[in-house]
């Protein structure tokens, strides 16, 4: 079943065109990986989809769960079930993880016209999610990302994803800042969260992450659009041949 449909998406930053006619369909239950050299617009795609200001959509359409995504504010897109694991998660001093998560979980429930979560259910959800991702109680007690190491911040993103159970999660450069053990742990958590109702869009430079989270589709992006698509073997081929060769630039 179709979850998101991106058609001919053009995005400008500071009047410079970065995405130049991007197309992609993702169905529920699928994992897509987008690879490509630096500066091809991978992170721009993520930012534009979640609706960050300063990313000006000049053309194209995005239909998410049958609705026009581009018409929605950033928080509305989130409430509809779109999640971004940030490449560089920011620190929110003084706001404890627990308080933050409770506020966010309840904001979603309110959007769905549900009662706030009970403290017991909330704590169960926190316990389950933190065990899944492997974050410590100490981390949960701290302010959001404050004083977290690069790896802890990334784990924290996946913890939040586990808490919120989005329909579509975009993972932007998840592997940067993670050591190999943490990478395995986080990948395992994601694999457990994969099901037939959700979908993942993984943005990465390297094939390494895809050894642990095996994608159904791999797309190679260059100069603001997808230039080649394939299955998981495409990522391996890329690893051995390099971008230039794959994209036929040599």
């Amino acid at each position: 079943m179709e979850l998101i449909k991106i058609r001919d998406l053009h995005v400008n930053i500071d009047n410079k065109e970065i995405l130049k006619g991007f197309d992609l369909n993702i169905n529920r239950g699928e994992v897509h990986a987008i690879m490509g050299p630096n500066g091809t617009g991978k992170s721009t795609l993520a930012s534009a989809l979640v609706g960050k200001p300063d990313y000006e959509v000049t053309k194209g359409e995005v239909i998410f769960k049958g609705k026009d995504l581009l018409e929605m504010e950033i928080e509305e897109r989130a409430l509809e079930g779109l999640f971004l694991a940030f490449q560089y998660p920011v620190e929110i001093p003084g706001v404890s993880m627990i308080n933050f998560m409770k506020t966010v979980v309840d904001a979603r429930r309110e959007y769905r016209k549900e009662e706030p979560i009970s403290p017991v259910d909330f704590l169960k959800l926190v316990k389950r999610s933190s065990e899944l991702v492997g974050i410590s109680d100490k981390m949960k007690g701290r302010a959001v990302n404050e004083g977290f190491s690069g790896g802890e911040k990334k784990k924290n993103e996946i913890f939040q994803m586990a808490m919120l159970q989005p329909d579509l999660a975009i993972l932007d450069e998840l592997d940067s800042g993670l050591d190999i053990d943490s990478l395995k742990q986080v990948a395992e958590a994601i694999n457990k969260l994969r099901n037939e109702n959700n979908a993942f869009l993984i943005i990465t430079h390297y094939q390494r992450l895809l050894d642990y989270i095996v994608p159904d589709f791999v797309h190679i992006m260059n100069d603001g659009k997808i230039v080649k698509s394939g299955d998981k073997d495409l990522a391996k081929e890329l690893e051995s041949k390099g971008y230039d060769d794959i994209m036929g630039l040599n």
Partner: protein, 482 residues
């Protein structure tokens, strides 16, 4: 996008002051103006003894020699002191045995303010000495307090029932000669709270007073005196909100706190006087003198304030660390929005040895407001090995507001350590976007960020007060983003 945002801001900033309502209860007003006869009128109305009248008259005569202070970073419109009334009391004020006997309209006012007396009495264990304009209406929990010989009553009652204590302590921390507003207060103070914790007693409940201004054109001059005798402990809460008025209202309170040897006083306040409308019209002028003395060795005083209201705030809760090994703390969050002006901070005067003080001030400026921190740390000649740490942070939202910091440090003893840290920041778009991507709307995201910013101060507040303060901060933030 930007247009939509501005529209939302406009709508929200047009939101009226939530507690803007007035109550029709007959008032007995003093004629407008100020002279010795008025001072006598007030004293007589309250049935005060001669010594109290003499004190008021001395203060009044001194006040005549003073001029309004101009050193604040404030733009204060001229105040015509002859055009104000200096006394207002609800008529027919019997002391009630039960709430059934209280004027239902008055009870309704309290309910609107969220302080149903019976609920509080039953559920929270807070003794409330509610001040309705100038005269105390209801005092609860007297029995519990009585068992410990704790006195918690209106200042008027204290003058009648405990004259020796009042005589000994009133004006001992803030003398009537202290400053223009303190002098005026000493001459015309209407009522306030009096609290005495005897030797060794720990007050088991948070003592709480809610103030409310209710008569247009009436200055409110509260006088509060808190005394913790040797080894005693008390936590005192003061919170207030005022009805909407077009006319500016003057509020010049005096609070004096005395901590004897090994005593501890915690004083918390949430101040939400009417700030004026979005164009800066109306609003309360809040010119307050609050001072404590750590009189005996080993005593401790802690001030916590959340300031969101008033058109103009002039307020510096201060502590004199007279005894050795004394501790003083000042935690403050001051929010200014629209055209509000605040000049607030603290003074820590170290006189005793090994005295320690901490100042944590968080200013938040929005709209076209001006928010000033003014602080003084002084180490006297004999204040050996004393320490002060001051942290002074300013958060700005928008580009039309101002944040200012004026720290003064005077050190006459070279064995001490003074540290001053200051930061100025803006809420980053990155932070807002992060929170929004998790599903929070603009208001909620800003509110979370601001409460996080002020957490160090909010966590000092007693539990029930902290919730109220958090809510108040969120309300103050509404319509402020852009």
């Amino acid at each position: 996008m930007e247009e939509v945002k501005n529209k939302v801001i406009d709508e929200l900033s047009n939101k009226d002051y939530e507690f803007g309502f007035t109550t029709d209860i007959e008032m007995e007003l003093a004629p407008k103006g100020l002279n010795e006869d008025i001072v006598r009128f007030i004293s007589e109305k309250k049935g005060e003894p001669q010594w109290m009248l003499d004190y008021r008259l001395k203060a009044y005569r001194h006040w005549l020699t003073l001029k309004m202070p101009k050193w604040g970073h404030l733009d204060i419109p001229k105040i015509d002191y002859q055009d104000l009334s200096y006394f207002a009391a609800p008529k027919n004020m019997p002391k009630y045995e039960s709430l059934d006997e209280v004027d239902p309209e008055l009870l309704d006012t309290f309910n609107k303010l969220g302080i149903p007396l019976e609920e509080q009495k039953r559920l929270t264990g807070i003794a409330v000495d509610a001040v309705f304009d100038s005269v105390s209406v209801k005092t609860t929990f007297q029995e519990t307090l009585k068992e410990l010989d704790i006195i918690f009553c209106s200042m008027s009652d204290a003058i009648k029932d405990h004259p020796d204590l009042v005589k000994k302590y009133i004006g001992s921390v803030v003398p009537y000669t202290d400053n223009y507003f303190a002098s005026l207060n000493a001459a015309v103070f209407s009522d306030g709270s009096f609290c005495y914790i005897p030797k060794g007693a720990r007050c088991p409940v948070e003592l709480s007073t809610y103030f409310r201004i209710n008569t247009a054109g009436t200055g409110q001059f509260e006088r509060t005196l808190i005394i913790a005798d040797e080894g005693a402990y008390v936590s005192y809460l003061e919170g207030c909100t005022a009805p909407q008025r077009d006319e500016n209202q003057l509020h010049a309170a005096v609070v004096e706190i005395i901590a004897e040897k090994d005593a501890e006083v915690k004083y918390s306040t949430v101040q939400n006087w009417y700030p004026g409308d979005k164009d800066g019209k109306g609003g309360i002028y809040n010119f307050v003198t609050k001072r404590a003395i750590c009189k005996g060795n080993g005593s401790k005083v802690s001030w916590t304030q959340v300031e969101t209201g008033s058109a103009i705030t002039w307020k510096y809760p201060s502590t004199i660390l007279k005894g050795d090994d004394t501790i003083a703390e000042f935690y403050s969050v001051a929010v200014t929005n629209n055209h509000q002006q605040a000049d607030t901070g603290s003074k820590m005067i170290h006189l005793g040895k090994n005295s320690k003080s901490t100042i944590v001030s968080k200013g938040i400026s929005l709209g076209k407001s001006q928010n000033t921190y003014r602080g003084m740390v002084k180490f006297g000649k004999n204040a050996h090995n004393s320490r002060n740490h001051s942290q002074c942070d300013s958060l700005l939202m928008g580009d039309k507001c101002g944040a200012h910091t004026f720290p003064y440090i005077k050190v006459e003893n070279n064995t001490g350590i003074v540290e001053h840290e200051a930061t100025t920041s803006k809420i980053a778009d990155d932070q807002l976007n992060y929170l929004k991507q998790r599903g929070l709307g603009e208001e909620q995201a800003v509110s979370l960020l601001v409460n996080g910013y002020a957490k160090e101060v909010l966590k000092q507040l007693p539990m029930e007060f902290a919730a109220e303060a958090t809510k108040l901060l969120s309300i103050s933030m509404e319509g402020s983003v852009g």
